[in-house]
Amino acid sequence: MSLVSLRNVVKRFGAHEVLKGITLSIEEGETVAVIGRSGSGKSTLLRCLNALEAVQEGEMTVAGIAVTSPDADLNRLRARVGMVFQSYNLFPHLTVERNVKLALKLVRKMSDAQAAQVARAMVGKVGLADKLQAYPDELSGGQQQRVAIARSLAMQPSMMLFDEITSALDPELVGEVLRVLEELAREGMTMMLVTHEMNFARNVADRVIFMHDGRIHEDGPSQEILRDPQTPELKAFLAAVLH
């Protein structure tokens, strides 16, 4: 069965329909880039996948959990689906190590020693082993974002969601974060990422989804979609972002 499967999912904020019937499957190991104009519903789609937003209609199964069923265990879902935000959202009162250990101990019920071992390994993986005892405000934006990725990966999620995670970074810090994502894609992590980096989408993602006005407007292999857009909306969007 697909890792993610959505059928006719509708999301409204009050009367405002933001997702207008999304049907979508994602298989294990896929790297899916989500592109589209501002306000097209990209973030909302990601936030629905780990139930940070509730949907009003349709059916949705993610990582083996029927999210739309009334008795779904949402905290269990979120422990299986990692998410990294544009604004890093590290816990400012905790060191890097304790940021990573927190959910391992509370959710995964690891001992402090086990959690510390995982934290060391994960923070090392994103190249920040020497920053374990630093506080978030002592790190650059790129470093904070890498810690946020490590914190999420430490939970051994079945898939990862990334929402414009390089958009708040100074240009010279974008590369170090994208390299971590590339490495993850190579390792076969299932991921869905909202991005404005078209080169990254083309070279690293297997598949591109173009969102337009709350719908999936085009969906296909990244090289094809970006080289040969079928709809005028995607043509216009690509022309605008690639100037």
């Binding site: 905290n75 979120r78 422990a79 959202n89 009162h93 959710v107 405000d137």
Partner: protein, 216 residues
């Protein structure tokens, strides 16, 4: 009868300052517990409880502390409930503190960005875990400075209890002035003691803030 202000008299002021400290502590403790309850009543999604808390806060914040002291000390005996000066002082200062501390703490909780709740949720933490491990510790850090700032006000406001005859630092200074007829010396000494008390609090708050890694 009239004599000079001597070292022994300074000792007398210090002994009285003990009551200023004890009263402040009692008010901080009583006001803290009540204030926590007020903050919770103000936040829980139950409208009547919110209204009650808002009404209470407005009533207490909208009337002078001295008036509250008088009502408790002189008003209750009219209904056959006599209270001594210490009890009236502790109760009035606790009620007064609770309204302000409650608001300070509610503000601190709400000052923690929504994103922090979400970051906790995205890691699979339960609502209570998000509250106690992510939001509350940050709210506590945010609240240190305003809380201590308010406690400094409380230390100074204990002087109002002199007006219902409670012998703390200010009342003791009045007594001492009557005995020595040296008001300037006596009140300067009292002011110095107040200053040391309040300054220690502010200094402790700054140390605490540094230790706690208050988010900038």
């Amino acid at each position: 009868m009239i004599r000079d202000f001597a070292l022994a008299d300074f000792g007398f002021l210090l002994m009285a300052a003990r009551w200023t400290v004890l009263l402040s502590l009692a008010a901080a403790l009583g006001g803290g517990v009540l204030g926590l309850a007020i903050a919770v009543l103000r936040i829980v999604p139950v409208a009547p409880l919110n209204w009650f808390a808002i009404g209470y806060i407005n009533l207490i914040q909208g009337t002078p502390l001295l008036g509250q002291l008088f009502v408790l000390f002189f008003g209750l005996p009219l209904f056959g409930l006599s209270v001594d000066a210490w009890t009236a002082a502790v109760v009035a200062l606790s009620l007064y503190s609770s309204a302000f501390l409650g608001e300070i703490w509610r503000g601190s909780l709400q000052a923690v960005p929504q994103r922090q709740w979400e970051a906790g949720a995205a890691l699979g933490l339960t609502y209570r875990q998000r509250f106690s491990h992510v939001v509350l510790p940050q709210a506590v850090r945010i609240s240190v400075a305003p809380t201590v700032g308010f406690l400094v006000q409380i230390v100074k406001n204990t002087s109002l209890t002199a007006l219902i005859g409670f012998v703390e630092l200010t009342r003791a200074s009045q007594i001492m002035t009557a005995a020595t007829f040296a008001p300037l010396t006596v009140y300067l000494a009292a002011a110095a003691i107040y200053f040391v008390l309040c300054f220690s609090l502010s200094w402790a708050s700054q140390v605490l803030e540094r230790r706690l890694h208050v988010a900038r």
